[in-house]
Amino acid sequence: MNSIYTSITQFIRGLLAPPGDICLTCGSPSRLTREWPGICERCALAIPWIDRPRCPYCGRASGCPDCLRKEAQHRAFVLNRSAVQYNDVMREWLAQYKYRGHEKYAPLLIKMLSRALYRMQKEISFQLKDQVGGSSREWRPDLVTFVPVSTERLTERGFNQAQVLAAGVGSIHKLPVVPLLVRSEHTGKQSFKTRQERIDSMRHVFDIDQESFRYLQHIGIEKLVSQTKSNENSTRTIEPLRVLLIDDIYTTGSTIQACAAIVKWALQYYLDVPSEVYSLTWARS
């Protein structure tokens, strides 16, 4: 008798209760933001955005000794920008998504990365305008690619976080996403390694994705480039293809460096296209 009574009152209470959802990240019931999928106002305010990168190369929010090293002069990528600083909260978010496999985080991370891309576009366009002979058009990448994971890790995890991020950003910004790379060798988890070990282990890890390159050869790379540059007077030499490389986190930059080097080389070698690789990552540690 009593349980009928309670179930009826529960039902009515449920109807009368104010609309509230459970925040994805902190788990408390509260009103969710409209801007950031699945999280509450408080969590949204606590996101450590990198709005003004101190280091113009790697996009770090604090001063960056790495970019002053000699090797850094010969980087294959132009610059890196990241959405957020990798603090404890962000570490937890990424761990929830990447290691625990909580895939409801994906829309949130994509949206955050997309915000970073808007800012990156604005920043680069602004710089280009200042340069002599620079165009007044907005800077846009021509094609998006991502850091691959090994087949082993892919079956273990079920998804490649960088690919999901790239696909999401590609669809928001209407950019073509092409898997240019494969991971040819399985290295241990990066997070257990020192800086030098990371850099060493990165050699010979990545290879090009043959199928994608055949496809690009087939459709002709001009198609991608012409989309953005059709209006320009073609007195100048051919402009390089702008590739946006996406990953979840930038720590020492060795992964990005290795990928960018191969992409640059392969685009030149197979398609005879000069290219510039820009990196966009979700977090900068």
Binding site: N2, S3, Q96, R100, G101, H102, E103, K104, A106, L154, T155, E156, R157, G158, F159, N160
Partner: protein, 668 residues
Amino acid sequence: MRVAVYAVWNGRVWAIRRSLDMRVDVLWWNRNKDKLGKTAKLVFLSEAMAYSLAVEVEQEFEEQPGMESWDLGKWSTFVHEMLWDVKRESQGGWIWDLHEAAPEAVQRLLAEPAGAGRMEAALHTAGVMEELGGQAALLSKLLHGRSLLAAEVESLLQDAAPGLAGAWFSAVQLASLQGRLALDAGVAADARPRRPGRGPLRLGRDRLPRCRRCGSEATGAAPCAACGRADCAYCEACLALGRSRACSLLLRSAAGGASAVRAAAEQSTAAVRGRWGLSAAQGDAACAALGFLAEPPRKGSAERSGRAWWPLSAPAGLAVPGGKPCAPPAGSYAQGEIAPSRFLLWAVTGAGKTEMIFPLLSSILEQGGRVLVATPRRDVVLELAPRLAKAFEGTRMVTLYGGSTERWQPGDLTLATTHQLMRFYRAFDLVIIDELDAFPYHNDPMLAFAAQNACKPDGKFVYLSATPPRPLQKEAARGTLHHAKVPVRFHGHPLPVPKRITMKSIEQCLRQPHLLKKLTEALRESLERDAQVFLFVSRIRHIDPLVRILGRILAGYCVEGTSSEDPQRAAKVTRFRGREIRLLVTTTILERGVTVPRSDVFIADADSGLFDEASLVQMAGRAGRSSEDPAGKVIFASPEWTHSQKRAVKQITSMNLIARKNGYLKES
């Protein structure tokens, strides 16, 4: 993951089976072909089907007339029709009449190199099958009483049998054919038929996929690279223990076929008290519990009377077409089947619950049984572990919590946080659940499900609580639940009964601090009698302003506040214990487990909806814990006198009454 799928004909019925290593199945059925009858047949349907689809095909399969004479094309169409909404799965089919020579495709299959995760050697060569048999035996021994996902099995093997790690699919397949292991999916729809007559609204819900490990509805779905499905369902509720997916393998093996161990018959109360150093009240309750442990199992007490409490108890058993052997889904007991029986040890705050579990544990351990003590909090596990280890020297004891190094060790006495229960399957003869009403159990069907799964079907449950949830209280009152009450604290003094102060809500008092006068006077009185004062409030945001105001009014006494958001919480509690802080303003986070000698308790806004009967009783239980100052003060300060407050006071006074009647109280 993806697995092979085939059909077996034994001359009477067809059954669909899935295989992690088809070579093992081919050899197994070839060896047992005589048992299957003269017309035995294997039909190989697919060499790599998404695991979730394979499970679905197996569950939904219904025999069609004339199947024995079907050719491959017909079989293939049949399978595709069953999975109508899914794209065509790859086919590598063949049909083999087992009593005839194997077709070429079978020979090829046996000769081919094995895939990743499988035994490398060619299985049909001499001696290899015997070796595999040994591996299967070892594996099923290691997985006794476990419910583990593939990733967890891998981690266990790396610990316990490194030789098998990375290549155990073949052995698992053999063990499952031998019936020693059940191969399940992490997430799958229940196979049981729809219940008729539950109304139109209920109909659709039964078919939602559920997590087989934690029992929750699987709410997530995402494209999956492991099985190739675009909507591979996964469970979001138990992510913390590794992701349970529709295509992930869940291995389950009940511990031992023998019936659960029972305690030896009646022991005298005096003997129990003397051996474990218990008070009269503790001894009586422990003996009642021991009597319960000695009882033979009874039919389905957890099922019949516990509906309200076990939200996931399933009403019906599995109906399996074709009568093939199939493990019942976890957490459900068919009607009339034996289910664990339950005992409630209702001990007031400060009664010394922990001491009372010792005789219970020892009674089962002495008979060679396995016992589990589950508690909601990690710090309780860490605190209890050395005490148990000391009391049960020579017993294999395992302590499990997130990040524990003993994760995969086998033990007779297991002490675990509640989430770890999900890794067990019908493993324990006795499960003791501490603080049943505390946060993780309270209203969490997932943990109730896990607890029920961890216990043997004819095992026993003992719940420990100072404030059992309403449904259990009612069952106890009605007499349908075995229980024993410990109505008195170890020091033999009655529980302090809450008194009432009528005052405005804290919200209003913060705006007009003079309204706090009644409260501050009572606080000052307590501080002057040299007591440590807890002041519980309902909202975290009230703490800081209240600390400021009280600090001004009660100048000369150190007033501090702490909450779940305070990084220095532990330090403040220590300072409070050390009498450096005299008045601590806090929320319900300190309602349990904190013992401060010579303390008084004030609860502001006691009419708040956030304080239910249980938390009021728990908070009141912080007062008068020590024998030097057994008569602490408890004050409920609120504008209104609510149901919860009334019931809390009633619970406390009735316990005192029982204690007095039984002569447990010192003064009487």
